[in-house]
Subunit: 353 residues, 2 copies
């Protein structure tokens, strides 16, 4: 089932078969017809590894994520796959599961397969790890952070936009004591979100109370813990803004267990707009960071590097906007009248008892 087999049967040379299959226009239509006929009869599929070997391009793009099970990623992977199919590329998916060893293996696997580019969507990938990729001039695209070098592009997420909208939204609902549950501050994206929150609060003239800023870890458990911490504060917040949706879901979950109603007693805003957000009860108001758009930008960035014959290996920046999606987890701030507080306390006691 070679190209040679085809050549023999069509009584042409392998060169002609190759040219026919690759639709090189200079081949005689008559010969082409003969070739196609045999190709279809035999069900011949070209061998990609042989192609890659001689052409120097594998038509594979690597995609490195932290965990596929992180609900943020499936949409991205799906979109990336769609684009890959469209452009006749393959997707080499790799997950680091936050393990330095796995990160190293990811990079190694990408190189061994000679991928034509890598989109790095895992945060905390050390510069030293991507050294090998850079060394081999593999086009890269980073989200957020990333070195400003030829051959690597960045997608800058405009956290500020959406978070500002969220804060304004809450303020419009008369919330003044707004808490923020951050992500792990070792992540630059988490730091950026926190900074965006603080700046937005300042812009709008609200005080950010020190005790209302909690460091979470972007997991549901973290959100649950965060709410607990917030409950022990003297003057409780009436709204909580979370660094990602999973955290918000954790807060929601714990609030439910304590009889705190969302949004009546507590308004809640997430970040990311993962699928699950709209399935929650109540549906989560959140800042959308379009995963489809992100995948598009990443793919295009790689494609740009590859298609432009190494002339424009220039560093490029892409912008990913964020915007608030209002659903049902936010409402007018509960009045802080005495009865209300007493009622809230009662509910709390009855549950913990």
């Amino acid at each position: 089932m070679d190209i040679r087999e085809i050549a023999r049967r069509a009584k042409v040379s392998t060169a002609t078969v190759s040219r026919t299959i690759n639709r090189v226009p200079t081949v005689d239509p008559l010969l082409a017809k003969r070739v196609w006929r045999v190709v279809n009869e035999l069900g011949y599929y070209p061998n990609r590894q042989a192609r890659a070997l001689v052409s120097g391009r594998s038509r594979i793009f690597g995609l490195i994520v932290s965990e596929i099970t992180n609900p943020f990623f499936p949409e991205i992977v799906q979109s990336f796959e769609d684009l890959a199919v469209q452009h006749n590329y393959e997707l080499l998916l790799t997950s680091t599961v936050h393990d330095p060893k796995r990160m190293e293996m990811s990079v190694r696997r990408m190189i061994e397969r000679r991928v034509d580019g890598v989109a790095i969507l895992t945060f905390g990938m050390e510069d030293s790890l991507i050294g090998d990729l850079r060394f081999r001039k593999v086009p890269l695209v980073f989200v957020d952070v990333g070195p400003r070098m030829p051959g690597v592009s960045n997608i800058r997420v405009q956290y500020q936009e959406g978070i500002r909208e969220a804060v304004q939204h809450l303020a419009a609902l008369r919330h003044t004591r707004i808490a923020f549950v951050s992500g792990p501050l070792a992540l630059r994206s988490a730091v950026a979100r926190k900074a965006a929150f603080e700046q937005s609060m300042q812009e709008i003239g609200l005080k950010v109370a020190r005790e209302l800023i909690i460091e979470g870890d972007h997991t549901m458990k973290g959100g649950m813990r965060a709410l607990l911490e917030l409950l022990s504060v003297r003057e409780r917040p009436t709204a909580v803004l979370c660094s990602n949706d999973m955290t918000a879901i954790g807060v929601m979950r714990e609030a439910f267990d304590y009889g705190i109603r969302v949004p009546e007693d507590l308004s809640l805003v997430g970040f990311d707009d993962i699928r699950m957000a709209q399935f929650m009860i109540p549906p989560l108001t959140t800042v959308q960071m379009s995963q489809t758009e992100l995948a598009n930008l990443a793919f295009q960035a790689l494609l740009n590097h590859v298609e432009s014959d190494s002339l424009s290996l220039k560093h490029k920046e892409y912008i990913l906007h964020t915007t608030l999606v209002v659903r049902k987890s936010t409402a007018i701030a509960a009045s802080s009248s005495a009865e209300e507080k007493a009622a809230k306390a009662r509910r709390l006691v009855s549950r913990t008892a």
Copy 2:
């Protein structure tokens, strides 16, 4: 950065370099040391496509799913990836998005990359489509269905087990009117689940009311529609068993909107045990079909076919058990006293008004 470059610098032949890297024991330790030294100095990574070309195995396993965004799959993909890393394989992930054209492309891509085996986890893959794979003797593993042929294995899911447990669980909670929301009956797995439900009910001596069997579509919307339909029934069910978790989540969502409390007014059981199930409010009681286990079986099946040098291409069957996981969405059946019914009706009216 060839193997030849290494050979030149280490002053040995390429054959020796190859043998060294592949840890063939017959190579002189002294030479091996020289080779490794150069390999490390230059940061040489072997070229997988060249290897694949000459060795005849690509060390790639294909994984075909219906949609990556279907919450059932991310866990599977992650587990499969883990195993792939462990066994020095690559994962070629492909999604069909229920599109016959995409299915065909999936198969084609698998063949062009010359994968060493394919796990088919999408339902509704036509036999004609896998013809090309079978023709090329690519090892296959199917879930549920699948032809009984040499070179292809099956993973049989024991739907009956878990569904029986679920029905028994509900019966023990004094439920007698139990509804079932099926998946699309074009899917064999959906049919199997429905049949398992009916048999379990019969076993335990409960009547399956014709009007309490609704055909859903395995989506949240489908679940919402199903509940609506169930609400219009003369004598309403006190419990609903769903063919998958997304359906159950839809039911839960719609119930919330109608003021029907889960589990107080309505007990709810799902199927699959996707991650999200435990995050719901209340956490969903569901029949677990371990995605990790599924991935393990699939990978092992492929590995068996590949490792055993084409001698045992025998058809093999693997069993995947299912079991009930009790959480918070099921409770004692609401008594059907007159007041209760009236109260339920009132709540319903007040919401729809």
